[in-house]
């Protein structure tokens, strides 16, 4: 798991100003330009880094996200959503997002939740399936339920954007 960790470092060192991305990081496919910024993470981060530490820092998040993506791709309920995604980019941006929200020393450079899930047709049941995978990945990492719940509290409202607002 050293490779993604290195890329997170690379991402951290990249200028975090709100500007469009021109060159894809190594190993990633290029994406259409979009406005970057921490606001794209979709929630206010925790003020301190207690949750980030409870998630075992970047090394822990790296393992959690790897397991989450693996489960999302393995589960027939969610596999189709992740079939053609750029796993390298997904891994990097998910680690950034969870790190940022948990109060860790990260900037989020990915798309907004609305952009990233536009026209995917995500339904509540799919959202819940991914939550289930995340919980299992956090269990495997040995993150206590109370800390899992704190992270889920940041992610749960995103259902309104990913599912409800994408309805029509």
């Amino acid at each position: 798991m050293k490779f993604p960790a290195l890329m997170i470092l690379a991402a951290l060192m990249a200028p975090a100003a709100a500007q469009s991305q021109t060159q894809a990081p190594p190993g990633e496919q290029s994406v259409a330009p979009y406005a970057q910024g921490d606001a794209n993470a979709g929630a206010e981060p925790f003020k301190d880094d207690r949750l980030f530490k409870a998630l075992h820092g970047l090394a822990g998040l790296d393992r959690v996200v790897a397991e989450l993506i693996r489960e999302n791709q393995a589960d027939p309920r969610t596999a189709d959503f992740f079939h053609s995604s750029d796993t390298v980019r997904l891994h990097r941006t998910l680690v950034e997002q969870l790190c940022y929200l948990a109060g860790g020393p990260c900037r989020y450079t990915g798309m907004s939740m609305a952009q990233a899930h536009a026209h995917m047709g995500v339904q509540t049941k799919d959202f819940d399936a991914v939550v289930e995978h995340l919980e299992r990945a956090l269990d495997l990492e040995g993150v206590p339920f109370r800390d899992q719940a704190k992270l889920l509290a940041k992610l749960a409202p995103m259902k309104r954007i990913m599912v409800d607002q994408d309805r029509n």
């Binding site: 509540t124 799919d126 819940d128 339920f145 719940a149 704190k150 509290a153 309104r160 029509n168």
Partner: protein
């Protein structure tokens, strides 16, 4: 918060939901576990004693779900059984039906009713989610708020009128608010109920001391120990309409455990206070519930 899903049920019915601009897949199941509550003593989605604002069944806004439940209450002088079932429609509307039996056992003879005399009650309920989402709205204070009605019909009209009740069937109205505070691993719920029921309706409705509707409160607080285990307590105030015997508020301390995605068990210590002149009815409550 493991998620309900059943490989058989996931054989999704490709029906478009009418009224939606975009065809949405109609689906079974998918609701997060512990977010349908359990069935209460009246067969309504909630805690053991209280009605919650959550809609029963495992369905999401895209489908239909349901539940079946059985509960047993053992008290020093009585026992009670409740069997119920419910349907949840699009996580919006809940329709439930339950048959509840209050068994006087040996106490029946002392009450002059005869040993093993039972009061039976049929309860039909409907609950509509008005606003809010108890689970996903973690960034808002607003709880999930639902309004409900319950029609209760007791089959012992002559007896309940003899002890002073006005009638043997009636309608309860309630407004419930429920919130999951994930940040704190807490579930909080409160409801206001307009009711005339004596001992949940087992002793009829209204009485010689008070004929009209009163506003009663029911509340629950639960702590999520893990995604499968919740422990908590409940309180439910009740009217005191009958002159022949005092009626008290009810309390419980419960633990609810999700055995599987579809099956949960609840065990509680329950204190129902005085019932029909017999003091301090404190005992055990167990219920088993299947959700789909």
């Amino acid at each position: 918060m493991a998620v309900f899903s059943n490989a058989v049920l996931v054989a999704c019915l490709a029906l478009a939901v009418a009224g939606s601009a975009e065809a949405r897949e109609w689906r079974w199941g998918g609701k997060l576990d512990l977010t349908r509550g359990v069935a209460n003593v009246e067969g309504v989605g909630g805690g053991g004693l209280a009605a919650w604002a959550l809609i029963t069944g495992n369905e999401t806004a895209d489908g239909i779900g349901g539940e079946l439940s059985g509960a047993y209450v053992a008290l020093p002088n009585y026992s009670a059984r409740v069997f119920g079932g419910g349907v949840g429609l699009y996580d919006r509307l809940e329709v439930t039906a339950a048959r509840a039996t209050f068994d006087t056992g040996a106490t029946g003879a002392k009450l002059g009713l005869g040993r093993g005399f039972t009061f039976d009650q049929t309860i039909v309920g409907a609950k509509l989610r008005l606003i809010g989402d108890a689970v996903y709205d973690q960034d808002r204070w607003l709880p999930q708020i639902s309004a409900g009605v319950q029609y209760k019909a007791n089959d012992r009209g002559a007896v309940v009128r003899a002890v002073g009740a006005d009638r043997n069937s009636d309608i309860d109205f309630y407004l419930a608010g429920t919130k999951l505070l994930l940040d704190e691993s807490l579930v909080l719920s409160g409801a206001v109920r307009a009711t005339r029921a004596n001992q949940f309706g087992f002793l009829g409705f209204g009485g010689d001391r008070n004929h009209g509707y009163g506003a009663e409160f029911e509340g629950s607080a639960a702590y999520l120990v893990t995604s499968k285990l919740a422990v908590g307590g409940e309180y439910r105030s009740k009217p005191d309409n009958l002159g022949f015997a005092r009626e008290d508020a009810a309390f419980d301390l419960f633990a609810a455990y999700a055995l599987t995605r579809n099956l949960s068990v609840t065990a509680a210590y329950v204190d129902l206070g005085d019932i029909a002149t017999f003091r301090r009815q404190r005992g055990a409550y167990v219920s088993l519930q299947a959700g789909f």
